[in-house]
């Protein structure tokens, strides 16, 4: 186990280098010269050259990358081009908001998907199964932002039950925080819930055909016990994999949903930065988004090993 953990952590290294390289190069491919942008309307060639030298932009690209990486590690993520605030401060301020949104919507999607998928699998081809599958099909086909807009209309404007925008820090007012998060969390969680419901149903159906389930039934165990204690546990293994694969889509969805509900997380921050063309902020946004993704996949991989003891930790490279 320890060896596996070590190897998995080591495998992060090339990924992190790749990710930071892409983020770094992105700034180089952006049209326009950063020096010209910073100098404004009037400047002399000498001033421009001096600034270029100060910023290290006259050095070879790999040297620039190395310097940039060192600064990143030291916590210097640059300053906003407009507010001149350190970018890292902004990011750290907004990160908990996005993480709350991501975690809550994953929990909500599981709370819906596991019971719904189980009921559908236990009673296949009944009205319960069909209705779960119809709702799930609709759920995987609806874009998050459209669902968000409809929830916004219904619960915010027509019924007026829930706040439709803004955010209250959880430490300040936990109830208010939760109320503000309900709609974004549902909008983000539902498509995932739909996908996972289909998955739980399919894998539970598969597991229920297996011999050990028959054995458990033959022993005279109650159906509820067989399903909940024996079958579901194995059926949930693919679910964990898919949650991992879905993290990417979840992050994408969160970016849009934060914009719809004006949730002050990393996503709305990034979109704002892109529209303002505040490149240091854009860079930080992309970097953090990718890092969350990489780390979430690491967590899923480790979780996978915990819930499925059959996975061999030492089983070769691939």
């Amino acid at each position: 186990m320890r060896q596996y953990l070590l190897r998995r952590l080591l495998s992060l290294l090339p990924t992190l280098i790749g990710v930071t390289l892409v983020v770094f190069l992105m700034m180089h491919f952006i049209p326009g010269d950063p020096v010209t942008n910073m100098m404004g309307e009037m400047f002399s060639q000498e001033d421009a050259d001096r600034l270029r030298q100060e910023l290290g932009l006259d050095k070879p690209i790999l040297v620039q990358y190395g310097k940039w990486l060192l600064l990143l590690l030291r916590g210097d993520w640059g300053h906003s081009m407009f507010t001149h605030q350190p970018v890292l401060t902004d990011i750290l301020y907004r990160l908990p908001v996005s993480l709350e949104l991501l975690v809550l919507s994953t929990i909500v999607s599981l709370l819906i998907a596991i019971p719904a998928g189980t009921i559908a699998a236990v009673r296949p081809n009944t009205w319960k199964d069909y209705s779960a599958m119809v709702v799930a099909m609709a759920g995987v086909s609806i874009p998050e932002f459209f669902l968000g807009v409809m929830l916004f209309l219904l619960f915010g404007l027509v019924l007026g039950w829930l706040p439709v925008s803004g955010y209250i820090p959880i430490l300040e007012n936990p109830w208010g925080n939760l109320m503000h998060m309900v709609l974004p969390v549902i909008a983000l969680g539902m498509p995932r819930a739909a996908l996972l419901t289909r998955l739980v149903r399919a894998s539970l159906l598969e597991v229920l055909k297996m011999e050990y389930v028959t054995t458990a039934r033959a022993k005279g165990l109650g159906e509820r016990f067989v399903i909940l204690k024996h079958a579901l546990k194995n059926a949930l293994i693919p679910t964990v994999t898919v949650i991992g694969l879905q993290v990417g889509f979840l992050i994408g969805g969160a970016i849009v949903i934060e914009t719809v509900f004006a949730v002050p997380g990393i996503g709305s921050f990034g979109i704002d930065a892109i529209i303002k063309r505040d490149y240091p902020q854009v860079q930080a946004f992309v970097l953090v988004g990718a890092l969350i993704f990489v780390l979430a996949n690491l967590v899923v991989d480790l979780l996978y090993v915990v819930i499925d003891p059959r996975i061999q930790y030492n089983a070769g490279e691939r």
């Binding site: 998995r8 495998s11 090339p14 990924t15 790749g18 990710v19 390289l21 892409v22 983020v23 992105m26 491919f29 952006i30 049209p31 099909m137 609709a138 995987v140 086909s141 609806i142 874009p143 998050e144 932002f145 459209f146 807009v149 409809m150 916004f152 209309l153 404007l157 289909r198 998955l199 399919a202 894998s203 693919p238 994999t241 898919v242 694969l245 993290v247 990417g248 889509f249 992050i251 994408g252 969805g253 970016i255 849009v256 914009t259 990034g270 979109i271 892109i274 529209i275 854009v282 992309v286 988004g289 990718a290 993704f293 990489v294 996949n297 991989d301 691939r318």
Partner: protein, 300 residues
């Protein structure tokens, strides 16, 4: 941690499909038309494609023509779905919006396939250093969430429809490269390939005639389902203002711009959303049906 695509390519299916490759499509089609939901999806796709092709004929008005005396009009006989804040006919914009969505959905797929498949084939067939090289680059692309990478590409390129196609194509290349690589790895050890090699069949012929056809089932299924996702991503990008730019009619952008006035006229926000939903639903239903028919083992 690549337990996903490679596993799902189901090597066992390969020989069975190979021997029937002549009528694979006929068989698939016959089984497919027995599935009502898949047929519904297919029907909807045909209607959408026709709408996109015939948009100029079908739309009652020019999608960017403004009727200044009827801004934000509710649905009426003159404007069946009402007008937006600039007085443009919502129905006409919806009809023309079909073009952008399908164009992005289909052409990003074409780009991903035409780059991804050769990469996967070369990687799986030759292995070694080439394989390593290609797969490490693919890993870097896969290290980004699809939507985030699409945003990165849209920041570098200027936002317009063609660039959305390029962005969505690039982010999908690794999916096809891995899928095909997995299939090739599984197939190339089979005896009939050894036999073909013994007969000195040249590599390209071996690849395209004997190995690649075996990857068709998972490829077709993945492709169909991915059109739906691409359409959602395009709509999301346009919704954020990073995709299709006005005045080109795009469902995502229309939804966003009408959102500001949702309290005055909620209809015009709902229609573009419904259009996206129905289009994605069509591809998902059809893709699901295809998956059940072509490869039950891909089911998840």
């Amino acid at each position: 941690m690549r337990h996903t695509l490679a596993v799902r390519t189901a090597p066992g299916v390969a020989p069975a499909l190979k021997t029937r490759s002549q009528n694979l499509y006929v068989i698939t089609f016959r089984q497919l038309i027995r599935k009502r939901t898949a047929l519904f999806g297919l029907g909807l796709i045909i209607v959408l494609v026709l709408t996109a092709i015939l948009a100029d004929v079908m739309a009652p008005y020019d999608p960017i023509e403004t009727f200044v005396d009827s801004l934000m009009a509710p649905p009426s006989a003159q404007f069946p779905l009402g007008t937006d804040m600039l007085g443009r006919d919502v129905l006409s914009r919806l009809i023309h919006g079909t073009r952008v969505s399908l164009y992005v959905g289909v052409f990003s797929l074409v780009l991903a396939i035409f780059v991804g498949i050769p990469l996967g084939v070369v990687s799986g067939f030759y292995g070694g250093a080439i394989d390593n090289c290609i797969m490490r680059v693919m890993d870097i692309i896969l290290a980004f969430p699809i939507f985030l990478l699409a945003i990165v590409i849209m920041v570098i390129l200027e936002p317009n429809v063609l660039n959305v196609v390029i962005a969505l194509g690039i982010v999908r290349i690794p999916i096809y490269a891995r899928l095909v690589r997995g299939s090739v790895l599984a197939t190339k050890e089979l005896q009939y390939i050894e036999a073909a090699q013994a007969l000195a069949v040249p590599d390209p012929r071996l690849l395209f005639r004997h190995i690649l056809p075996n990857c068709m089932a998972p490829l077709i299924v993945t492709s169909t389902l991915s059109v739906g996702t691409s359409i959602i991503v395009e709509a999301s990008l346009s919704f954020l203002g990073l995709g299709t730019q006005p005045p080109t009619p795009s469902w995502g952008w229309d939804l966003k711009s009408n959102l500001l006035l949702v309290e005055i006229n909620p209809w015009i926000t709902l229609f573009p959303g419904l259009a996206i939903f129905l289009t994605v639903l069509a591809f998902n239903l059809f893709g699901d049906g295809l998956r059940d028919v072509l490869d039950p083992r891909l089911k998840d």
